[in-house]
Symmetry: C2
Subunit: 292 residues, 2 copies
DNA sequence: CACACCTCATAAACTGCGTCTATGACTCCC
DNA sequence: GGGAGTCATAGACGCAGTTTATGAGGTGTG
């Protein structure tokens, strides 16, 4: 089901280096091994991805398309690895990060990747907790920097805006709202049974205050994946971070429903005035607060 | 370097099914195998991802974060597989798709994934060629549907808007433009040596006509990856599809430069009036033209 | 024009990882 | 206290992918 990843790595290396042998060297395997990986991938799919010649190898048109997809895969894999590495409770860490689930899921791994390339020596530590707990940890010094997605910021901590998260209302393609032309109003939203995160989460807080009413609950769940699954299953429209459903929207598995409500919320980084940030923490801050 | 993918699959299945044994069943392996995969992943990273109990297993907080990242990875893998499958020159295919590189790279695989889930029997065939060639193939009947990203549409074919692609001007963080507050003007763009796609590509065509001048070339390359690499290396600002650099922007490896120019362009699907579309082709069309 | 140098492919042996079968320990619940 | 579920452990097996060693083909050069 999930093969070819090593082969895809070879493909990318060949694209960059122009030769199977040098690609092998880069990946620290022998040339026949690299060759075999490529050949088995080509055989599996019945495609010719690489044009071999006596003066090196270059990708075919198909190969270039596949390389593009492979790069996207590798990007996610790298992000996951960066996240995993940071999740490890380590001895000599450099930056202790606390982040809420949404930010940890969709932004932190990218930042960690960038941090790692800027400062290979850095060993960040990541804790994934809810927004309130993030604030608490930063205040207590258990985390050096914290990332939250709530609108009300603590007064006693240093804050800086790092971006915007937009909530999306998404419905299965068969849902009546999927084919509306007019935005859904707050009244309608309050009347419809919805699929929501649990109270206490930043996502839910944002939605509740934008709605200014008590929502009607079809299902409450703690993980984004569950919400998405429920919406797809037709249990009801779900309210989730737009970033989390980009794939499903592109694929037409879910449809975004327009609304009157302002569902944007600032993403904020927190740190304590009292403690000075390490150089690594400052670098992370700089990466995160890139001029959007 | 790229391990744990099978372990990540187990993790996702455990999250969904609540038990290692049932996860194993879903993945068509035995329970000890699934257990071993998980344990080796946990050992590798020094984390506890799954809380085992006599009444089943559920993810820890760390596990939930990892599962989110894993889902993103699997999504890309699925997209790549769908693309690979469609790339295969097949005998009994159902829809022959032609798409330009940008669309093939970032949208088609998602659509194919959705198509596959709607019509598991479908066997789409994908050709990745430039915009002019796409039109030609549809006209000649060598492709059933074509996707292009140029503004001038052929009069003799049926067309429908499927979305918008926005070009982004991106520069390395060290580049002077990276820290500007004012948009870059057409004059400035024309004066600066830029990293661009080759003439004839849809991307280049859009840029040239928006610029309405002859650009100054720092480097011309045929693949998006090369452009990105060149921009990161500081050879000059690059002009690429915004979708292609989302990761680099999030990670702060590149910075988007604001501009006066309108760099949006419609994405269009083409087909021939003469030939009737297969049911599968129609389904694909419906997926692609989801109400944005 | 021949030789050196690069490319990639082939062949055979080996290593080891991951899997399966079989079993056991534990917890919960009736 | 038995039964039904959970997951872990142990040992044997099989095979996939690797390495080393070699060969074949094209390119360029003195």
């Amino acid at each position: 089901m999930t093969p070819d990843l090593e082969a895809a790595e070879v493909l990318l290396a060949v694209d960059e280096l122009g030769s199977i042998g040098r690609a092998a060297e880069r990946l620290a395997i022998t040339q026949p091994a690299a060759s075999a990986r490529l050949r088995s991938m080509e055989a599996r799919w019945g495609l010719t991805l690489v044009e071999r010649s006596a003066r090196g190898s270059h990708l075919t048109a198909d190969g270039r398309a596949v390389a593009g997809w492979a790069a996207a895969v590798m990007e996610q894999v790298t992000a996951m690895n960066a996240g995993l590495q940071a999740l490890r409770r380590d001895h000599d860490r450099d930056v202790r990060i606390a982040a809420s689930l949404t930010i940890a899921g969709f932004l932190v791994p990218s930042w960690l990747g960038a941090l790692r390339s800027q400062r290979p020596d850095a060993s960040p530590q990541l804790a994934v907790v809810n927004s309130a707990e993030v604030t608490e940890r930063v205040r207590a010094g258990a985390a050096d920097v914290g990332f939250i997605e709530t609108t009300d910021l603590p007064e006693d901590l240093a804050t800086r805006r790092v971006g915007t998260d937009t909530l999306a209302i998404v419905a299965a393609p068969g849902h009546p709202w999927a084919s509306r032309d007019s935005p859904v109003t707050a009244e309608e939203l309050a009347a419809e049974p919805l699929v929501l995160r649990e109270p206490g989460s930043g996502t839910r807080g944002t939605f509740d205050s934008a709605l200014a009413r008590v929502p009607n609950i079809a299902l409450e769940a703690g993980s984004t994946a569950s919400l998405i699954g429920a919406a797809q299953a037709g249990i009801g429209p779900a309210v989730v971070s737009a970033r989390a459903v980009r794939g499903q929207l592109d694929r037409g598995e879910l449809v975004e429903v327009e609304t009157d409500l302002d569902l944007r919320r600032p993403l904020t980084v927190l740190w304590s005035w009292d403690r000075r940030l390490s150089a690594t923490a400052e670098a992370l801050l700089r990466i995160a607060t890139v001029p959007a």
